[in-house]
Subunit: 426 residues, 3 copies
């Protein structure tokens, strides 16, 4: 009974037109050109490297895309068990009529060619969006992105702020900021003005969120302008900052961002828990890990200080999920946001999805985002989530709580789409 | 097969007469008078507030109970997915013949009136106890509670000690202590005498436990009377204590409580992990959260120092459950106690219940307590636990280990009732 | 369908001949002589003690084995729910034709006698190995073990190094090291030579791994020989070392071990997270617990510094499993290793097994080791793991991902056996 029920709910969920509220899509080149764009995704390169493929093989300068794929394919056998490879296969089946059960040294080349041919069709991007039932795709834009030359009603700008908060010490960050805003950074006041100018630029181009990823030990707090001023003087003089001074500047900028989110009525996406460059010799984007010893209690002051700002929160450590559930259950401005990176595998999504649906108001849950770099990934990633969601709706709601299928389905649609629309507004 | 089996076990578990080993019941007003007593439970007010209802709407002074319910009802739609609302519906169905599948602006008023009528019946309290199969209900009494005017064989006193350990610095706490014991607090010796006097009072009125909730960073250790004396002098002089001094007094009092538990043969319920007032503008009782970064290793000295005291332990963070399982498996005086607050949702109870039944001696597990403020909540809360327990017994014992149903059922009865009787004695 | 499927996969997995990559077997007395050898395993003594049996009853000097069993048997009733007792029953059924559903004061004696008789058969060890389908058993040898008098192609030596890293301050450790290597420990250089000599000795006797268990706060880092020298002078002079100095020596020796592993091409098994002697009055081997607040980020420098060394990693806290999954997914030299101690119960194995199979390259997972002290335990422990593995293969691969049974089975065989062979080489 439960199997049929899950299938019926899943079929209905598959009809839903999606908004993907967090991706790394380049709107000027949203879809892929070759299979190398798919298999070059860090999930495959880092897993292949982890299973023994040398980084130099993967990241050789000017590597031909077909050659790159030919080097990765033999390693797929060692990775076949991973859910990430199941995404790859699903894309190949759905987009390229691939019907083998794995990609091997024998069959990859025809797959590559078939993919290249399809991807070369002028409407490939449209085809992918249609097949994936994707209506809108949120971007992750550098703060100095011009936001021009693409359709901002389809590709929604979001202001990514990691560089501002954590790399303002680098002269090139400040140069970029000055160039983007035409404001010279001299002190806390001009820095604040520059940040405000970025928000004006982004919101005037339809931005719907400010976003940042944060290390596990980050603890936001307000910083007096005078305190920031004295550290900024040191920074601008070219002196290397102490650890404490760096933290002061990070906190100052972060708090300003929250203030601007309040002023410009933008949600502030917090992606909590990543340590950058833990594996120094890893492949591109395959170097970051985490320390599970973190807590949302570090954000207590922030959540209290900005009741008018919505904070959609992603946690990297699965062990943080219960805190996320509980903080969303108590704080009106805290919202659960998807299943991020190392938590984005079925065993963890299932547990996290169940606990959220059991204890967080239904209006405060953003079910899923793809985090994709290329448009083709929305299909298998949302597919994975929908299957888990359908099963949880069937088991925990229709069966355990005697809900009608329609009611359970409405709940599913809300977390998959309705909340995205309402929380990120328009 | 498994479905029928679970159902049979559940039916048998439902026949069991219960003792609820931890509640916040007021024995002078145990059952509810109106639906506002149920919907005023912090789970509903805090979730409604989290979903957008202003605190002022909920906590307006002298708010009429019916008006209060009318304000909460529209928010129930946003909370319908939560297990807490499923408790509410189950109470309405079981106690008030409600047969809609949700409480709405259309149907709430007749429900309210029906409930008010039933609750006005002179034997309502008895009806609730009977229908809930509740025999005894443990209380959480302030240390200066007179413990008079109620049937202490039904409503079992327990000495709650948070104020003594964490708020002795407040003059009113000391005044209450002096009034309750007729002992003037002048130094460590008189403080010890006063605490002893409380234990005499409580045990002479049939108390069965001492209880306390503790923050995640609390680390109990013995404190010399002379050390306590010097801090107490500062406190009594009206000087504000340093953080270290406060910790010293907390440790001194806590350790004394453990000594008194040993002397009076009382179990010491430890509820570990809560941070108070994290969300300062939250509704009443909806302000507390937690920091998952805690460990039972902080209690190493305590568990070693008091082998003769039983410590029933509840943990707020679900990530603490494996430590609880392991410490209960090793320390003879550590016992698992229920599923507390933010861990009291099916996704977590299920995992915690399974791990405890797989690794902790069956005699050392207190399956569940309701933590309720009003008597009607025992029914849906124990109901939720029993369904999970029945499923675990069916799956992990009858099916996976080939136990007879009777044997699995005996295990279920032990954790639901037998252990409560034995551990808290009489 | 799923039930039959799981059963078919399980049946095939049960045909597999095993290598057990981590045990505490004494190769001179691998199998048991009486039931007391089985019931004297710390799991039973510590659980019986936890349930109320006095340590003195269990550890009375010169206690007759039969008397010891007679004292433990009555406590089994309180432990019957634990998975550990299910192992005991499975051994009794499989090895001693026991067919009751529990061991009681009525039936234990005939069981004891029957076991003693079987165990007295000259080929008992062979019988156990055959019935358990065990081909090779990895040992845990003290660093000064002569490694003589047993078949090192069946019982594989492994160099256990806890004493060297954490107890070099004890004069007897240094004496043992000097006796084993004929090298006088005078400074960093001679200590390094002595450690090198141990590796020569072990690898010349077929050792396949270096192994160590580590406390939750251990953070390995390189130490200059000159720094180590000055601390060693203090140690050798008999002065008690400070906490920092002890940590320095531990780090120095640990780092040398990693260097020797590189040089001798040995995997370095890290068993992370145990606090020793937490319960001081516990039974033998029943005193250790853990602090879940630990992270693999503490090993960042190590993993980066030794890309040529494979680190099979076990974690004691289940909450560390996601870090283990993620670090194994990123670092080529990090490998998941079994389910250790307090994490070795079905509820946790299931979740950990699923997450590993979903996200770690299949070639980087060592499915299980028994950690046994007596040979009979491999059968029920591997049996428990195989049942969970079969279920995960059926559910997550054959059903959810449409894999053929054969393909799923190949994956199972790889993590159960193939990877052990490849990772520990020969």
């Amino acid at each position: 009974m439960s199997e049929q029920l899950t299938k019926r709910i899943l079929t209905e969920l598959e009809d839903l037109i999606l908004i993907d509220p967090h991706t790394h899509i380049n709107p000027h080149s949203a879809a892929s050109s070759t299979l190398a764009d798919l298999m070059g995704y860090h999930y495959y390169t880092e897993l292949a490297h982890s299973a023994g493929l040398a980084r130099e093989q993967i990241e050789e300068p000017d590597l031909d895309p077909k050659e790159k794929v030919s080097r990765l394919v033999p390693k797929l056998a060692d990775l076949q068990n991973t859910v990430q490879v199941s995404w790859l296969l699903e894309m190949c089946r759905e987009f390229f009529d691939f019907d083998d059960d794995r990609i091997t040294t024998d069959n990859w080349e025809s797959l590559y060619d078939c993919a290249a041919e399809k991807m070369a069709q002028p409407d490939w991007e449209e085809q992918v969006l249609n097949k994936s039932k994707l209506e809108q795709v949120f971007l992750t834009n550098d703060f100095d992105d011009l936001l021009e030359g693409f359709d901002t009603s389809r590709y929604i700008p979001c202001l990514r702020t990691d560089d501002l908060v954590f790399h303002l010490q680098k002269p090139e960050t400040r140069t970029r900021l000055q160039n983007a805003t035409q404001i010279e950074i001299q002190d806390a006041a001009s820095l604040t003005n520059a940040i405000g100018s970025l928000f004006d630029h982004f919101t005037s181009h339809g931005a719907r969120a400010c976003a940042i990823s944060l290390p596990p030990d980050f603890a936001p707090q307000p910083v007096e302008a005078s305190t920031a001023d004295s550290v900024l003087q040191g920074m601008l003089s070219g002196r290397e900052l102490t650890v404490d001074e760096s933290a002061t500047i990070s906190c100052f900028v972060f708090w300003k961002l929250a203030e601007m989110c309040a002023e410009h009525r933008l949600p502030f996406d917090l992606m909590i828990g990543v340590n950058r460059r833990v594996y120094e010799n890893g492949v591109f984007q395959g170097q970051d890990l985490f320390d599970q010893r973190t807590s949302l209690i570090l954000y207590q002051k922030l959540f209290n200080a900005f009741p008018q700002v919505t904070f959609p929160i992603s946690v990297l450590a699965q062990t943080s999920n219960q805190e996320l559930v509980s903080y969303s259950w108590i704080f009106p401005n805290v919202v659960t946001n998807g299943h991020w990176w190392y938590s984005n595998i079925p065993a963890y999504i299932e547990l996290d999805c169940r606990s959220r649906l059991q204890a967080v108001p239904q209006s405060k849950q953003i079910g899923y985002y793809s985090d994709m770099y290329k448009l083709e990934f929305a299909l298998p990633k949302f597919g994975m989530y929908r299957r888990i969601l359908a099963n949880v709706l069937a088991t925990d709601f229709v069966i355990a709580r005697n809900w009608s299928e329609e009611r359970a389905l409405d709940l599913g649609k809300l977390v998959l789409r309705g909340n995205v629309e309402r929380i990120f507004g328009d």
